[in-house]
């Protein structure tokens, strides 16, 4: 469902993730793309690299545009066409957040994919509200002084039918989540962590390993939330300390041992909270 010749950077796992997502969704799918790396990978009109119709909207409006497309298809009796959003973290956590919150509140029937590379990487690497604490970007050269917004928890607070995190290093888990989401009606959101090779300062062959480290260290835990209530943590343990994840990326090169310890504590707190919710729901 994703043709060769697309415009992803060599080694980018966004293309890999997109291919698995599209193959799982199948041809009776339409995508609304916000300007993003994903939109550029789709390429030019009218023939994009994706074998489904892609409507590119403006950066802040993907959830609203998907709502309009969904309702229009409904009036044509096309309820079986799956409407998906493909957006980046800037178009989701930041400028598109208002439209997303509104669409989730209305429980619009769509699957929203946020390809989270933790910054405005398509514009050369500036911070977004998905950029983690202390990460260096073009607009936070000394490191970001605030924490990453927790999108999945915010979505859970909307009591969204399905919210999940996923990783390009765990493709079977990603595919399972896409299949599960496809079987649910209402708004569903899957946030896929996409290590950005130039943005994070990684060698071209390190994207998968970095995505795996994010999961193994508990920096980006894989989990699902249904109806904002039922939490399922998809991994039982953390196998590595956070510093193993931080030390391989140039964006964290300036961190002191104390900075790394602070991030470890933050990750520990988040993990404990998730594990408790998962155990009690």
């Amino acid at each position: 469902m994703l043709r060769s010749g697309h415009a992803a950077c060599p080694g980018c796992v966004l293309a890999l993730s997109l291919r698995h997502i599209l193959n799982t969704l199948g041809p009776e799918t339409m995508a609304v793309a916000a300007p993003s790396c994903a939109a550029l990978i789709c390429g030019a009109q009218p023939c994009s690299s994706m074998k489904i119709p892609v409507y590119q909207t403006t950066l802040e409006s993907s959830a609203a545009a998907a709502s309009g497309l969904r309702r229009a298809l409904d009036t044509k009796g096309k309820q079986d066409t799956t409407v998906v959003v493909i957006a980046g973290d800037g178009g989701t956590y930041d400028i598109g957040f208002q439209a997303l919150s509104s669409a989730v509140e209305r429980n619009e029937d769509m699957i929203y994919f946020c390809f989270d590379n933790e910054g405005y990487m398509n514009t050369g690497g500036q911070k977004s509200s998905a950029t983690p604490l202390y990460a260096s970007t073009g607009s936070t050269p000394a490191g970001k002084l605030s924490k990453k917004k927790n999108l999945t928890e915010i979505m859970a607070a909307h009591e969204i039918p399905y919210a999940a995190t996923a990783s390009a290093a765990h493709l079977a888990d990603l595919v399972r989540k896409v299949e599960k989401a496809k079987g649910i009606r209402g708004t569903r959101i899957i946030t896929v962590l996409i290590p950005c090779l130039p943005g994070w300062g990684l060698p071209d062959d390190e994207a998968i390993a970095t995505a795996r480290l994010a999961v193994d260290t508990g920096v980006f835990p894989l989990y699902e939330v249904e109806e904002g209530q039922r939490y399922t943590l998809n991994q039982t343990t953390r196998t590595r300390p956070v510093k193993d994840y931080l030390m391989t990326q140039k964006r964290y090169r300036h961190l002191s041992a104390e900075d790394r310890d602070e991030i470890q504590l933050m990750v520990d707190r988040n993990w404990t909270r998730l594990a408790e919710r998962s155990a009690t729901s």
Partner: protein, 386 residues
């Protein structure tokens, strides 16, 4: 001919708009409430609740999202209507360009209201005239009846030239004033406006995409195509209006000249001001002063040829602008001077900022202005009338 199947109702201008939208059988609407537009939204919701309107209605969190949803719905190939006013129209600005660029034949109704800051709720056309470069066809209405008729006509125009249409009427003077309105029968409208069946739309069978990146050459060609569609829109508006007139006996033209024969002064304006000027013209004609009215109904594309024809041989023109572009003055004043430029023996064009911010312009005040300008050389700049 007279339409004998219509029903006469006492309607506000906004409810007349809602009736026009209902009769046009849109499939999708997205609306956000704003004073003084809200009666349009509420009436449409009421029609839908009673099963009299079979449309999906989305009520998102902002006008920006409303227009974003309208554009994508239009790309799916369904008929789309929305309504807004002042701040809402301005919030949509980015998506107005987007809709026009994607050639989405959306019809939107705007209730002209002052643009903040400071806040006001008064009739002023700066909100819509300032959107003149977004690629939307723009029509201005003088009455509830005209608003109803224009909504129906607008779908025909929009779908014929694949270009969105914005119709405006003035806050309160038209939007909330009650008047008897002839509401045509559904069968009449169905005869006039067939279902929207576009050749191109988002379709999983074809897999084609829209809105994505293009080359500079493709972009330039795209703009040329938009320009060509705009030029075709003048004839499309004339023909759609004439066809409607043949069915129901009411037509408005792209411009209207009222008592302009042998006029030595023609007053040019848009919207509800036309009604006031009509009255002032009658008064002046009664006292022997040769004054006429030229109503600009189609503002984008500006019907230049029709304006030049209508004003040929007229010594003086008085433009009344209920809008203000700081640093330029009255927008219609500037547009008219530009359109008449180079015309042999062009009229002297006197521009007045009249009724900006909802300031009342009485027929008496208009008569005073008319008397004043005929004895003066026109100023390059627009002059404040009040």
């Amino acid at each position: 001919m007279k339409d004998t199947s219509s029903t006469r109702m006492l309607l506000t201008g906004n409810h007349a708009v809602a009736w026009g939208a209902r009769l046009s059988r849109p499939n999708f609407m997205a609306c956000y409430p704003i004073t003084p537009q809200t009666p349009i939204l509420e009436k449409l919701m009421d029609f839908q609740m009673k099963g009299e309107l079979d449309a999906e209605i989305l009520t998102p969190e902002s006008e920006h999202s409303a227009m974003a949803a309208c554009v994508s719905a239009s790309m799916a190939g369904v008929r789309v209507f929305t309504a807004t006013s002042c701040q809402g129209l301005l919030l949509m600005h980015e998506k107005l360009h987007y809709a026009a660029g994607l050639r989405a034949p959306i019809v939107m109704f705007n209730v002209n209201r002052t643009v903040a800051a400071p806040w006001g709720f008064w009739p002023d056309q700066t909100d819509s005239v300032s959107q003149r470069d977004t690629g939307w066809i723009q029509l201005y209405s003088e009455s509830g009846q005209e608003s109803l008729d224009t909504v129906i006509q607008a779908f025909k125009i929009a779908e014929r030239v694949s270009t969105p249409v914005l119709i405006s009427h003035d806050a309160f003077y038209i939007s909330h004033a009650l008047e008897p309105v002839e509401v045509p029968a559904q069968a009449t409208v169905d005869q006039y406006l067939p279902p929207y069946e576009p050749e191109l739309f988002l379709d999983t069978e074809r897999g084609e995409s829209v809105g994505n990146v293009v080359s500079p050459e493709m972009f330039c060609q795209h703009r040329k195509d938009m320009g060509q569609a705009m030029q075709l829109a003048i004839a499309a508006t004339q023909e759609s209006d004439a066809e409607w007139e043949r069915l129901v006996g009411r037509g408005y033209g792209v411009i209207e000249t009222y008592r302009c024969d042998d006029a030595e002064l023609v007053i040019v304006t848009m919207g509800s001001m036309c009604g006031t000027v009509r009255h002032a013209v009658d008064e002046m004609r009664a006292s022997g002063r040769p004054v006429g009215l030229l109503k600009v109904r189609l503002f984008r594309p500006l019907p230049s040829a029709a304006l030049r024809d209508a004003l040929a041989g007229v010594p003086d023109v008085l433009v009344l602008d209920r809008n203000f572009s700081p640093g330029t003055g009255g927008v219609l004043h500037q547009e008219l001077k530009s359109t008449l430029f180079g015309m042999p023996e062009a009229p002297r064009v006197h521009g007045y900022l009249a009724g900006v911010g909802g300031v009342n312009m009485s027929p008496g005040k208009i008569e005073e202005l008319a008397d004043r300008v005929c004895q003066a050389e026109p100023s390059i700049q627009s002059v404040w009338a009040g």
